[in-house]
C-alpha cells in the first residue's frame, strides 16, 4: 500500500468486513450532534460535553489542516526554492505549506476560545464498507477481470448499507456485471479484461 500524505486517515484493516458500529444512528446526527459516544480517530476525544475544549470539531479540523501543512513542509524540506527572480520547484510547496500551517493554527486557536460544534459520530460501517469495496475492485480488476471485480464490488458494497437479500443482490450484481461488459467492452470497445 503506498503511503500518501493522508494515509494516516485510512481506516485500519480496510480489507476486513465492516464491524457493526453505531452507524445505524438516527437521522440528523451528522453535524454537531451531541449524542456522540464514539472516540474518534483524530485525537481520541470523547463526550464533548465534558471536554475542556470548546469546539472539538474545529480543533480536529485545525490540527488536520496544520498536519497537512507540516507534512508538505517536511516532504519539501530539501527542494530548492530558488530566488524571487527565479522561482524553483520548492518555492510554491513551501509557501502553500506555510499558509496551511497558519490557517490550521488560526482554526485551532479559535477552537480553544470560542464555543462550537462537538465532534460528530462516525459512520464506521458505511465508511469501511464502501472503502473496502472500492479497494477490492482496485485489487481484482486487473487480476481477475471485470466481471468478478464488479461482483466483488457489489457484494462488499452491499454490506455498507442495509444488505439486500441474496436473490435481489445476485440479480443486481448480475445485471450490473452484464451491463458493464455490454456497454464498456462491446459498446465502447475499451480494452478491459472480462474474465480471469
Amino acid at each position: 500500500m503506498p503511503s500518501l500524505p493522508f494515509s494516516d486517515l485510512r481506516p485500519p484493516s480496510s480489507a476486513t468486513a465492516p464491524p457493526r458500529g453505531p452507524s445505524t444512528a438516527p437521522r440528523g446526527t451528522a453535524r454537531g450532534a451531541l449524542e456522540n459516544t464514539l472516540p474518534t480517530i483524530m485525537d481520541g476525544e470523547a463526550a464533548p460535553l465534558q471536554e475542556p475544549v470548546r469546539a472539538p470539531q474545529d480543533l480536529a479540523a485545525g490540527l488536520l489542516i496544520a498536519a497537512f501543512g507540516l507534512a508538505a513542509l517536511w516532504l519539501g524540506r530539501d527542494w530548492p526554492t530558488g530566488t524571487l527572480a527565479y522561482v524553483q520547484s520548492g518555492f510554491f510547496p513551501r509557501m502553500i505549506g506555510l499558509l496551511m500551517v497558519l490557517a490550521g493554527a488560526v482554526v485551532t486557536g479559535r477552537s480553544l476560545l470560542a464555543h462550537g460544534a462537538g465532534l460528530p459520530a462516525w459512520g464506521w460501517r458505511p465508511l469501511l464498507g464502501v472503502t473496502a469495496a472500492v479497494l477490492a475492485f482496485a485489487g481484482t480488476v486487473e487480476l481477475l477481470g471485470l466481471v468478478p471485480a464488479v461482483l466483488i464490488l457489489v457484494g462488499l458494497g452491499n454490506l455498507a448499507g442495509q444488505p439486500l437479500r441474496p436473490v435481489p443482490l445476485a440479480f443486481l450484481g448480475g445485471t450490473l456485471a452484464a451491463g458493464c461488459v455490454a456497454l464498456f467492452v462491446w459498446g465502447l470497445g475499451l480494452p478491459l479484461r472480462v474474465w480471469p
Binding site: 501543512g69 472500492v134 478491459l192
Partner: protein, 501 residues
C-alpha cells in the same frame, strides 16, 4: 459586421444538411447517455466517443463532435444534479444547488433550468463570437502572467463563497487543493514532488479520482450513515417544469452567468474554468438572501450552467487564435480538429472559412438539438431517483470504479479514489467543504506557472502584481472581497446558512 453574420450563415448552410443534423442528433444522444453515467465525466465521455467521428468527412465529424460534447456536458450536469457526482470542474458548482434541488423533489426543474440556461448562453455567445470574435482575441493579449495570477487569486478568494461555514476553513481547503495539484512532476524543472517514489504519481493526480472520491464516495458514505443504510430519500417530485416564479428568478442569473462566462472564456488558460465558479459567487453576493444558496437556489444552477456553456463557447476565440486549450475537453477537441486538417492558429478564419464557421454553427446546432433531445428525457432521468438506494448506490460505485479505472487503465486511480473518499468523509465530518478544494486543485498548476513567470519577468519584484493596472485592480477586488467576508456582519449572515439539513 454584415460580413461576419454572412459567415455565420455560411456555416449554418454547411451544417444544416439532413446528414449533418442526424450526426449531431446521434452524437448528442450517445454523449448524453454515456455522460450521464456516474463516474464518466465529459472528458472521459468525449475521449471514449472520439473514435466514432474519425471516418466521417471533416464537417460531419465536427458536427457530431459538437453533439457529443454538448451531450456529455449535459449528461455530466445531470449526474451532478441527480446523484451529486461532478465529472468535471464546472459541475462541482452545479452539484451545490442542483443536488439540493433534487433532494427537494425539484430535480426536473433543475435539469430543465440547466438545459435552458445553457442554450441561452450558447446562442448568445455564438452570436458574440460571430460579431466580435476577432477583435476580442486582442483582449487576451492584455493579460500577462501577473494579471493571470491576480485573476486566479480573485477566483480562489471568490471560491470561499462556495462554502458555508468558516472562512478560514474554506481558505484552508483551497490551500489543500493547491497542495494536491502539486503532486507529480514540476513542469519547469522536471523535479518530482509529493510522489513518494510512486511512478503512478509522476503525472500528478487526475481530476476524476479526486472528484469521485471527495464528492461521490463521501456522499454515498454520508448518506448511508445518516439514514441507517436506507439511503436518503428525495422529496416526492413536485413538478418537472420550471414555474413562472422559477423562470423569474433564473433568467437574470442566466444573463449574468452568460456575460461572466463569455468574458472569462476569452482569456486563454484558466479563464473558462473560472466561469462557473465566478458566476456562482457573483449570484451569491448579489442575492438578497444568500443563505438560500446551497439549499436549492435555482440561480445557483442557472448561472454556473450558463457561464460554463458561454465560457466553453467563448474559449474558441483564444483557442483558435492562440492555440491554447483551456481544459482537457477542449484539448481533445483541438486534437480531433487537427485530425481533420484544422490547425488552430490566426489564419484559420481566413483560410478555411467554411470549416471555421461550420464549426461555430455546429456548436449552435448542437446546443439546440441537445435541448430538443433532453427536455423530453427529463422525466426519465428523474425517475432514476426513485430507484431504491440499496440498488442505486452499488450501481453508482460500479460506474465510479470503472470510469476511474478506464481513465488510464490504472487500478491505482481506483485506489486513489478510495483514499479521497475517506478524506472527503473526514473533511465533511469536520465541516470542511470540498468545493473550494476542487477549484484550488484545478487552478494550482496555472497559478504556480504564472506566478513564477510574472516574477521572472519582473526580475523578482513582487510589487508587479499591484503596480500593473489590470492586475492591481483585480488584486484590490480580491482584497476587498476577503475583507467583506471576514467582516463580522457578513459573517453573521453566512452563519445563518450554516445548517445542513
Amino acid at each position: 459586421m454584415t460580413e461576419l453574420l454572412g459567415n455565420l450563415l455560411l456555416g449554418l448552410s454547411v451544417s444544416l444538411s439532413p446528414d449533418n443534423l442526424l450526426l449531431c442528433f446521434g452524437g448528442a444522444l450517445i454523449g448524453t447517455l454515456i455522460g450521464v453515467l456516474p463516474g464518466l465525466g465529459p472528458t472521459a465521455t468525449v475521449a471514449m466517443l472520439l473514435p466514432l467521428t474519425f471516418h466521417l468527412p471533416p464537417v460531419g465529424a465536427l458536427i457530431m463532435l459538437a453533439g457529443i460534447f454538448y451531450g456529455s456536458q449535459y449528461g455530466g450536469s445531470a449526474t451532478a444534479i441527480l446523484v451529486n457526482l461532478p465529472g468535471e470542474s464546472s459541475s462541482v458548482v452545479t452539484c451545490l444547488d442542483g443536488h439540493a434541488m433534487a433532494r427537494q423533489g425539484r430535480a426536473g426543474v433543475a435539469l430543465a433550468t440547466a438545459a435552458l440556461a445553457s442554450l441561452f448562453a450558447g446562442i448568445v455567445t455564438t452570436i458574440l463570437i460571430a460579431v466580435a470574435g476577432p477583435p476580442l482575441a486582442g483582449v487576451a493579449l492584455a493579460f500577462g502572467p501577473a494579471e493571470y495570477v491576480s485573476l486566479m487569486l480573485l477566483g480562489l478568494i471568490g471560491a470561499v463563497t462556495l462554502a458555508h461555514g468558516s472562512v478560514v476553513k474554506a481558505i484552508a481547503m483551497i490551500l489543500l487543493g493547491l497542495l494536491l495539484s502539486m503532486v507529480g512532476t514540476d513542469v519547469n524543472s522536471g523535479d518530482t514532488r509529493f510522489t513518494f517514489g510512486l511512478p503512478q504519481l509522476y503525472d500528478g493526480i487526475d481530476f476524476v479520482p479526486l472528484a469521485m472520491g471527495l464528492f461521490g464516495l463521501a456522499e454515498i458514505i454520508a448518506s448511508l450513515e445518516q439514514t441507517g443504510g436506507a439511503g436518503r430519500t428525495t422529496a416526492p417530485i413536485a413538478s418537472l417544469w420550471p414555474k413562472r416564479e422559477d423562470i423569474r428568478q433564473a433568467w437574470p442569473a442566466t444573463v449574468r452567468g452568460t456575460v461572466m462566462g463569455a468574458l472569462l472564456g476569452i482569456l486563454p488558460g484558466g479563464g473558462a474554468t473560472l466561469g462557473s465558479f465566478a458566476a456562482y459567487s457573483l449570484e451569491k453576493k448579489l442575492a438578497r438572501r444568500p443563505e438560500r444558496f446551497g439549499q436549492g437556489a435555482i440561480e445557483g444552477v442557472a448561472a454556473p450552467e450558463a457561464a460554463n456553456n458561454a465560457a466553453s463557447q467563448a474559449c474558441f476565440i483564444p483557442m483558435l487564435s492562440l492555440g491554447i486549450p483551456p481544459n482537457a475537453i477542449m484539448a481533445l477537441m483541438i486534437g480531433a480538429m487537427t485530425i481533420h486538417g484544422i490547425t488552430p492558429g490566426p489564419q484559420i478564419m481566413a483560410k478555411q472559412p467554411e470549416l471555421f464557421w461550420g464549426m461555430i454553427a455546429s456548436m449552435l446546432i448542437g446546443n439546440v438539438i441537445l435541448v430538443i433531445l433532453n427536455l423530453p428525457m427529463i422525466g426519465l432521468w428523474v425517475r432514476l431517483l426513485r430507484v431504491p438506494y440499496g440498488y442505486l448506490f452499488p450501481a453508482i460505485l460500479v460506474f465510479c470504479c470503472i470510469g476511474t479505472y478506464t481513465l488510464n487503465n490504472s487500478a491505482f486511480n481506483v485506489l486513489l479514489m478510495a483514499m479521497f473518499g475517506v478524506l472527503g468523509y473526514v473533511l465533511r465530518k469536520l465541516d470542511c467543504e470540498p468545493a473550494p478544494l476542487m477549484l484550488g486543485f484545478v487552478l494550482g498548476p496555472l497559478l504556480e506557472e504564472n506566478l513564477g513567470r510574472a516574477l521572472l519577468l519582473s526580475g523578482g519584484d513582487p510589487t508587479v502584481f499591484a503596480t500593473r493596472p489590470i492586475s492591481g485592480s483585480l488584486l484590490a477586488t480580491a482584497a476587498l472581497l476577503l475583507i467583506l467576508m471576514v467582516m463580522p456582519s457578513v459573517r453573521r449572515r453566512r452563519d445563518e446558512a450554516f445548517k445542513d439539513e
